[in-house]
Structure formats: structure tokens, C-alpha cells
């Protein structure tokens, strides 16, 4: 498999992966004197499932926040769809077609599942506040069109039964699914998942894995995810970036990463004499 091929590559299960969608060049992120990320370079290709793994405190979430535009790195460049990305506000990044879920669920607890997912369409609504408030003319037509998109997502993630339930009353596993639904509602090019399986039981993990694969398969969405469950990561992802202490220590297919000595050391620990 030739990773450097600009035209992409074919995965083990026969999926065609396209060219580079996003490229991180020499990213360094500092908080005061602490280097959270040091000189990391990697790319995410169109249509692939890309995992970022590493021990606690390795800088994975910081990396995801750089991709999502929440943190602006002190050094390095972020290239998205062939263009260098200037520092942006998160909403501008969202408008570019990047959506995400959060490690600690960030939903509106008092709102229904449906309303929460509708907020995922917000960036694409064109009519003004007043028109929407009186729900007339174009605003009405627009809402119906958006609702249809949202209903497709609800159907896809099989959460019809909780459509009208306030999010606060849902169990954890379902909240995670609602968060994924909201991200999907934005019809992203790139979907960022921050520990989508954290705190789930085996069955919930299986469901979530199924949904992630289906999203990738059905909509062709590129997915970058952070995950601690190694079994899940190795099964789901096409390529894996391994971080430790803010540095990249490995990059490649799950098999390559599994056999990488630096990675094994980072996870199992080495004796420092």
C-alpha cells in the first residue's frame, strides 16, 4: 500500500480512499511553558477513518481541538481541501464542513432530542430571526426541508422512539448517539469524534461502531476519532496516528502500529535506568 500516493489507496476491505482532505504540518501548541503538541505532521484522506491514539495526557484532545479550530497552534499550518487555513472561529470551521462530538457530552439537556439535532442544521439556515419567529413563507419551507434532513439522520441512527424526549432524561449511551446525530445533521465533510465509546458497555460499543462504519460507508464522510479502546480502534480505523507526550511516535495501518516498538513502549512502559 503506498501511503504517499496523492491519488489515494485501497483499504483491506476494498474501499477506495481518496486524496488528502486535511493536512497538519509541523503543528506545535503551547499552553504557557507547556508543550501540549510538538511538531506533529500527518494527513487525513478523503473517505478514511483515521484514529488518533495515545496514553492519557498525550495531547490527543488538543490535536482534535486544533483540527476543529478551537485552538490556534503557535507554529505550523493546517491545510484543508488544498488551501492553507487561516486562524478561524469555531463557527467558521463548522461552515467549512467540519463537525464534532465531545468527550463530555455537550447537548442542551432541557431540549428535546429533535431540537438538539436541529441545532446541527443551524449553520445552514438562511432566513432571519424574525422570519423564523413568525414561521412564515420561506422560513417555513426552509424548516421543513431541514426537518426532513434531520429525520433521515434520526432514522439512520435508530432513535425514533426518543424524538420528543428531553435529552436530560436519556441514558448515557443514547446521549452519545444524539450527539453523533447532531454532528451528522450538519452533513460534514469531516467528522471529529472525541472518545465516542467512553463509558459505554460492550453492546453500546458495538452499536456505536456499527454506526460509525455505516456513516462512513453511506455518506462517504471522512472520520477522525480519538479512542481508548484499542480493540475498537484497530477494528474500525484505516490508519492510526500514535501520540505520546505531545509527539508523534507512530503512524500507519493498525497492523503497522501494533508492531511499532515505540508504540509498544509507550503503552506498556519501558524501564528508565
Amino acid at each position: 500500500m503506498n501511503m504517499q500516493n496523492p491519488e489515494g489507496y485501497t483499504t483491506a476491505d476494498g474501499r477506495q480512499i481518496g486524496g488528502v482532505l486535511m493536512e497538519m504540518k509541523n503543528i506545535t501548541l503551547r499552553f504557557g511553558g507547556v508543550n501540549a503538541i510538538t511538531g506533529i505532521t500527518f494527513d487525513i484522506r478523503e473517505g478514511e477513518i483515521r484514529a488518533i491514539i495515545g496514553p492519557n495526557g498525550a495531547g490527543k484532545s488538543s490535536m482534535l481541538n486544533v483540527i476543529s479550530g478551537f485552538y490556534v497552534p503557535q507554529e505550523g499550518e493546517v491545510w484543508f481541501r488544498g488551501a492553507k487555513r487561516p486562524p478561524m472561529k469555531p463557527y467558521q470551521v463548522a461552515n467549512q464542513g467540519i463537525a464534532r462530538t465531545f468527550q463530555n457530552i455537550a447537548l442542551f439537556e432541557g431540549m428535546s432530542v429533535l431540537d438538539n439535532i436541529m441545532t446541527g442544521r443551524l449553520t445552514q439556515m438562511k432566513t432571519g430571526l424574525l422570519a423564523q419567529a413568525i414561521w412564515w413563507g420561506r422560513a417555513q419551507a426552509e424548516e421543513i426541508a431541514h426537518r426532513e434532513k434531520v429525520e433521515k439522520v434520526i432514522d439512520f441512527l435508530e432513535i425514533q422512539h426518543i424524538r420528543k424526549t428531553p435529552v436530560g432524561r436519556l441514558p448515557y449511551g443514547l446521549k452519545k448517539r444524539v450527539e453523533l446525530a447532531r454532528a451528522l445533521a450538519a452533513e460534514p465533510k469531516l467528522l471529529l469524534l472525541d472518545e465516542p465509546m467512553a463509558g459505554m458497555n460492550v453492546e453500546e460499543k458495538e452499536d456505536m461502531s456499527r454506526f460509525i462504519l455505516d456513516v462512513n460507508d453511506e455518506f462517504g464522510t471522512t472520520i477522525a476519532l480519538i479512542e481508548h479502546d484499542m480493540g475498537v480502534v484497530m477494528d474500525l480505523s484505516d490508519r492510526v496516528v500514535v501520540m505520546d507526550y505531545g509527539k508523534k511516535i507512530g503512524d500507519g495501518t493498525p497492523d503497522e502500529v501494533r508492531n511499532n516498538q515505540a508504540v509498544i513502549d509507550a503503552y506498556l512502559g519501558v524501564s528508565h535506568d
Binding site: E148, E151, K152, E158, Q160, H161, R210, D217, E218
Partner: protein, 654 residues
């Protein structure tokens, strides 16, 4: 049996469909909630889809006499696929979608189906898993495209593509399809349904067009069903009842079949549709009632008062009003007021505002639950039936509804009681045969067409209503020769929330005794409210106050058993509360939670002996199997108690 002819050429389901297009063309035939909206198809639209689907099947090579397995939840397209298969001269075989792959393999192998229609990836995966065991499967058609992109499609098609192909090629298939539809007769097979198979392997029950159409016609007339009625199709498609309601009666009367969005949304969808004709097993009614009661416990004081007051009125006069019996003017007014304040809103919440005819069957329903719904003005009735009868054997006519009978023979059905009490029937709905099982057919259905139900029962004097008392093989005689029907008494005991299971003994004995399993939820709750401390199931079960409560329940049951002249001998004289729950892991119950009498009798022989020996206490050790297969023993000292026995009302004529 007199052989009837099909009314005016309506010899098959496709023929009924064609008639519905003419008569009810623009009325809604099917609805399904999808993407949050009820999508609907008129009879004309549905027929167009079904024809295209049938031509698509022809394009795939479906032959006359093929069996088409259908697996999935209730969806219009799956119902259509059954009719489309019939059009091609094939026989639909709906399967239980929650069956594990091995059970499916048995059935698919037994019927030798070449075509399988699946709802989604989950079902397709099961079929692929068992492909090696059932090599004759040639074509898999699936409805939901999700996740299917990567599958090998050389012998697999999406339903949308099958329909599209049928539509595109209709010039090629028109003649052939018309020919095959014309070949269908009143006696060609309409559907094959597999019995659930609690004993032994599932059996394929072959039902002809005559069975289905005659039964649908008779039962629709019995309950005055008509076009414009609404049903909610949510029970398994493999179950004969769903086939009769959602295909037979729907096609006969032209009413509308509504499919829920997903199994989990059934209650919401029920409320939105507000069916006029509704069927549910007792469990569904029980759950709904419990939910209502729990919510009322949390309601404000005024609402609670209002609810209690008017429910009392409803219990007193509701059933009479529903049956059209005379009640006083003030009661009528109170009920009318109650309807505005309580019953109406409650029925609306439950989704029963429009129910004209409601049925329950399958197992005994608690009299309180039954009368709760009837007192609200919901016409809930009972029926008795089985797959081999195309459902209907007996049913309750409007105005003659009671909790303890299953009604009078359905129109066209003859019922007789054999000397040993077993119920036999014959009817136009009586099945043709068990597929590839001549022995079973012969042992179930005799030359004159009488079918043994395996249930024991009797006709009540005066009303002519049938009462089912037990499985025929469990019914015995007591030492004094009176009838012993354990399940009859057990069901009465189990209607108390505190009692989870009861096992009654008494065959060839002087009196009856029983084991009781308490319901940990209900009794635990009760203990909490009454400040009774306990540390284990075992301790709670032997608590003196629990024993007192159960003694009271048993006494009440004895009272009601005594009122029945034929079964008064079955009163429970002594009982004990078991120190462990009866469990399938220990072999004491089947996986479907039916008590295994013989096993329990052997395993707890010491306890039974002690009950009959008149002891007041016994020490016992019982082997238990944990969920992971390890074994252990529990030791307990059980209290044996006497129960109050009511004086029997002797049968006047011996």
C-alpha cells in the same frame, strides 16, 4: 362439513385486492410512519406497487409452488411481498424475526424456500450465516439498503430495484402474471405459518385461500368491521393472528393497516393512529394499566381524588353501560361527567379513544385488568383460537363479555367436548395439513375434520359460553373423583401482584396444595412501605407477614374456586412459599416461562410430602445453577401453612 363457494369469484387474496381497487380505490390501505410522518398508500397505489413487485419476482425467476420466506417487522412492503408471492403462484412463509439463526435454518430447510425477503441487514446476515445449511436459497431481497453496499449482490437485490425492474419490464410479464393470478383457486395454499414449537420442532401449518377468506368474512361480519376501520399492525408477522387481521380481514373489508415506525415507538404510534380495531396479548394491557397507576400515584391530591372517585363510578356502572344494561339516571349522569373529566382523557392517552372492537387472547387475563378497560367504555373482548383454526374457535359477542369465558363458537365453527374434557372444533378455517408431516396431521385432525386443541374446557350451562380450564394433559382427577385443573387455580393465584408463580398439586390426592413464588418487585415494594426489613429473597419469602398476606390471597382464591360447582374440589388446603424463584436455568421452567410440573414434583418431593403429612415446618436443601453454569446449594427452613377453605357448593345432580 358443507363446502361453501367463494363469493362472486373472490377466490384469492390477489382477487380481493383487485376488488378493493375498484370499490375502495382512493381510500387509505396502508400507512407507515417513516421520517416522522405517516406515509400512506391508497388501495390503488398499493395494488400498483404489489403488481410491480410480483413482476420483479417473475424477473428473478420465482416459480409456481415456490416458498418465499419473509422476515422482518411489520412493514407495508413485507405485507405486499406476501401478496406478490401469491400472485406468482408461490406461497409466502412469514418467519419470526427474532428467531436465532438455527431456528431459521430449520424452518427454511423444511419449507425449502428459494426466495427470502428480509427487512434489513440484520436479517440478511442471519441468512448468510446459515447459507451452508440451506443451500437451496437462491435469491435474497432486502428492504433497507443501509449497510448493504459492500455485500455480494450476485444473488441479492434491494426491494426498490426489484420493483423498478418489474415496472420496467411489465410488457414482458403482464401476460404471465395475469395467467398465474387466474390459476389461483379457492383451495390453493394462501400461506404457510410455522407454529412456535414449544414442544418439539416447529410445524408448518398450511392454510388455503378458503381457510383465510371464509374466516375473515365470518369474523368481519361478527364484529361489523368495515372499510374505514383502522388497525395497528405490530404483532409478529409470523403469527396467524397478524395474518388474519392485517391481510385477511384487511383485504376482505378494505380497512387500513398502520405500521409503526419502529418496535420502540409502538405506544406513541398507537396514540397517533387511534385504531378502531385492536388486538393485544394480556401483557400489553397489564403494562399499560401499571403505567397509569404509577403515574396516578405521583399525581397531585386533587387529581388523584378525582381519578379514584370516578374510577369507582366506572367500576360500578361502566360495564353495564357498555353492555347496554339499564342503569339509573343519576349513575348515567355521573358516568357522563366521569367520561369528560377522566375516562375520555385517559383513553386518549392510551390511544383507545376510537376502539370499537378490542380483543385479547393467548393467555388468561386478570379480571381486574379486564374490567378496568371495560369500565372505561373500551369494548375489550376475549377470543380463543389457534393457528390450525385460522385463529377463530370461539369469541365473545358484544354485550356478553366476561373475564372467565372465551365466548361462543365463532360463526361457521362447530365445537364439541370429548369425554375427557378436551375441546374439538371444525370449521371452514380448519387447516389443510401440516407440511411434510402426515403423521402429525393425522393425529391432530380426524377424517371428519375435527381438530383436537389439546385444551380442556366445558360449556357453561345457561349461557353456552366456553370456558377453558387447562391443558388437557394436565387435567386429572382427585382422590374423590372430582375434577383437578391446576392451571385454573394457578391463574387465579397469579392475578395477585404479590404472586409471581404458583404450582398446584392434587392429582389423585385428597386435597390440593400449592407452592407459591412471591414477586420480589411487588412484595419488596410492599415491604418497604410497611417498614419490613429483609436481606434476601429467601428471608423475605419466609417473613410471617408475607405469609399472612399470601394466606389471605389463597383464602380469597378458595372462595372464588368454591363458587364453581365443577371445580370446587380444587381449593388449596395447604401451601408454602418457595425459598427460591423457579428458574429455567434449573430446568424448573421452559425458556418461555412455563412451569414444568413433572420436574418440580420430583425435585421438591420432600416438600410436597411434608405438605400432605401435615407438618408445620421443614428443613430443605436445594441445588441451584448459577447463570455461568456453576452449581451451588441453598438451605432453608420453610413454614408450611394452612389456608382457609370455603364450603363447597355441591353439584345438585351427581
Amino acid at each position: 362439513m358443507n363446502v361453501t363457494e367463494a363469493p362472486s369469484g373472490l377466490v384469492s387474496i390477489p382477487a380481493l385486492l383487485a376488488r378493493n381497487v375498484v370499490v375502495h380505490g382512493n381510500k387509505a390501505a396502508y400507512r407507515e410512519k417513516e421520517f416522522g410522518i405517516w406515509q400512506s398508500w391508497t388501495w390503488a397505489e398499493a395494488a400498483e406497487e404489489i403488481l410491480a413487485m410480483a413482476m420483479g419476482f417473475l424477473a428473478l425467476g420465482l416459480e409456481r409452488g415456490d416458498y418465499v420466506a419473509i422476515i422482518g417487522r411489520n412493514r407495508p412492503q413485507l405485507y405486499w411481498s406476501m401478496v406478490a408471492a401469491q400472485m406468482c403462484g408461490a406461497i409466502p412463509v412469514p418467519l419470526y424475526q427474532d428467531a436465532v439463526a438455527e431456528e431459521m435454518a430449520y424452518v427454511l430447510d423444511h419449507c425449502g424456500s428459494r426466495f427470502v425477503v428480509c427487512n434489513d441487514q440484520e436479517q440478511v446476515d442471519k441468512i448468510l450465516e446459515i447459507e451452508g445449511k440451506v443451500p437451496h436459497i437462491e435469491q435474497v431481497v432486502y428492504l433497507d439498503k443501509r449497510g448493504m453496499r459492500k455485500y455480494d449482490h450476485s444473488r441479492m437485490n434491494a426491494m426498490a430495484d426489484v420493483i423498478a425492474e418489474g415496472r420496467a419490464g411489465h410488457h414482458r410479464f403482464d401476460t404471465e402474471l395475469a395467467k398465474r393470478i387466474a390459476e389461483l383457486t379457492y383451495d390453493s395454499t394462501c400461506v404457510m405459518l410455522y407454529t412456535s414449537g414449544t414442544t418439539g420442532k416447529p410445524k408448518g401449518v398450511v392454510l388455503s385461500n378458503r381457510n383465510i377468506i371464509e374466516t375473515s368474512k365470518n369474523s368481519s361480519e361478527f364484529d361489523h368491521l368495515r372499510a374505514g376501520d383502522e388497525v395497528l399492525a405490530y404483532l409478529p408477522m409470523a403469527w396467524v393472528g397478524d395474518f388474519i387481521f392485517s391481510i385477511g380481514q384487511a383485504m376482505w373489508t378494505g380497512f387500513c393497516v398502520n405500521c409503526p415506525e419502529s418496535p420502540a415507538t409502538m405506544m406513541t404510534d398507537l396514540r397517533e393512529i387511534g385504531p378502531t380495531y385492536f388486538f393485544a396479548p394480556p401483557r400489553v394491557f397489564e403494562t399499560q394499566l401499571t403505567n397509569v397507576m404509577i403515574r396516578m400515584e405521583d399525581a397531585g391530591r386533587f387529581k388523584k381524588w378525582l381519578f379514584d372517585r370516578y374510577m369507582a363510578v366506572a367500576r360500578r356502572v361502566g360495564p353495564d353501560i357498555l353492555d347496554g344494561n339499564p342503569v339509573s339516571g343519576s349513575d348515567k349522569f355521573a358516568y357522563w361527567l366521569g367520561n369528560i373529566l377522566v375516562y375520555g382523557p385517559l383513553k386518549n392517552t392510551l390511544g383507545f379513544s376510537r376502539v370499537r372492537v378490542g380483543y385479547t387472547a393467548g393467555e388468561a387475563i386478570g379480571p381486574e385488568i379486564f374490567s378496568f378497560y371495560r369500565s372505561l367504555g373500551i369494548n375489550l373482548k376475549q377470543l380463543y383460537g389457534q393457528t390450525e383454526a385460522s385463529v377463530f374457535i370461539t369469541q365473545q359477542p358484544d354485550g356478553q363479555v366476561r373475564a372467565d369465558t372465551v365466548g361462543v363458537p365463532s360463526p361457521g365453527v362447530e365445537v364439541k367436548i370429548a369425554d375427557n374434557g378436551e375441546v374439538f372444533y371444525r370449521s371452514p378455517g380448519t387447516f389443510v395439513k401440516y407440511y411434510k408431516n402426515a403423521d402429525s396431521t393425522a393425529s391432530t385432525k380426524d377424517a371428519e375434520g375435527w381438530v383436537a386443541t389439546g385444551d380442556a374446557g366445558f360449556f357453561e350451562d345457561g349461557t353456552g359460553h366456553l370456558r377453558i380450564i387447562d391443558r388437557a394433559k394436565d387435567v386429572g382427577k382427585m382422590a374423590d373423583g372430582s375434577l383437578f385443573a391446576p392451571k385454573y387455580v394457578e391463574n387465579k393465584l397469579k392475578f395477585y401482584p404479590a404472586i409471581l408463580e404458583a404450582v398446584v398439586f392434587g392429582a389423585d390426592r385428597a386435597f390440593c396444595t400449592t407452592f407459591i413464588n412471591i414477586d420480589l418487585n411487588a412484595v419488596g415494594n410492599w415491604a418497604e412501605r410497611n417498614n419490613i426489613a429483609y436481606s434476601s429473597y429467601q428471608e423475605l419469602s419466609q417473613h410471617p407477614r408475607v405469609l399472612e398476606m399470601i394466606r389471605g390471597h389463597v383464602g380469597e382464591v378458595n372462595q372464588s374456586v368454591a363458587a364453581d360447582p365443577m371445580l370446587s374440589g380444587c381449593q388449596v388446603h395447604r401451601f408454602l412459599i418457595l425459598h427460591k424463584e423457579l428458574d429455567a436455568d434449573d430446568g424448573e421452567m421452559t425458556r418461555t416461562r412455563k412451569v414444568r410440573r413433572r420436574v418440580i414434583e420430583e425435585k421438591f418431593a420432600d416438600l410436597i410430602d411434608a405438605l400432605y403429612a401435615g407438618k408445620s415446618e421443614i428443613y430443605t436443601e436445594t441445588e441451584v445453577t448459577y447463570e455461568d453454569g456453576r452449581k451451588g446449594a441453598i438451605k432453608a427452613t420453610l413454614t408450611l401453612a394452612d389456608a382457609a377453605v370455603a364450603p363447597a357448593q355441591k353439584v345438585a345432580a351427581e
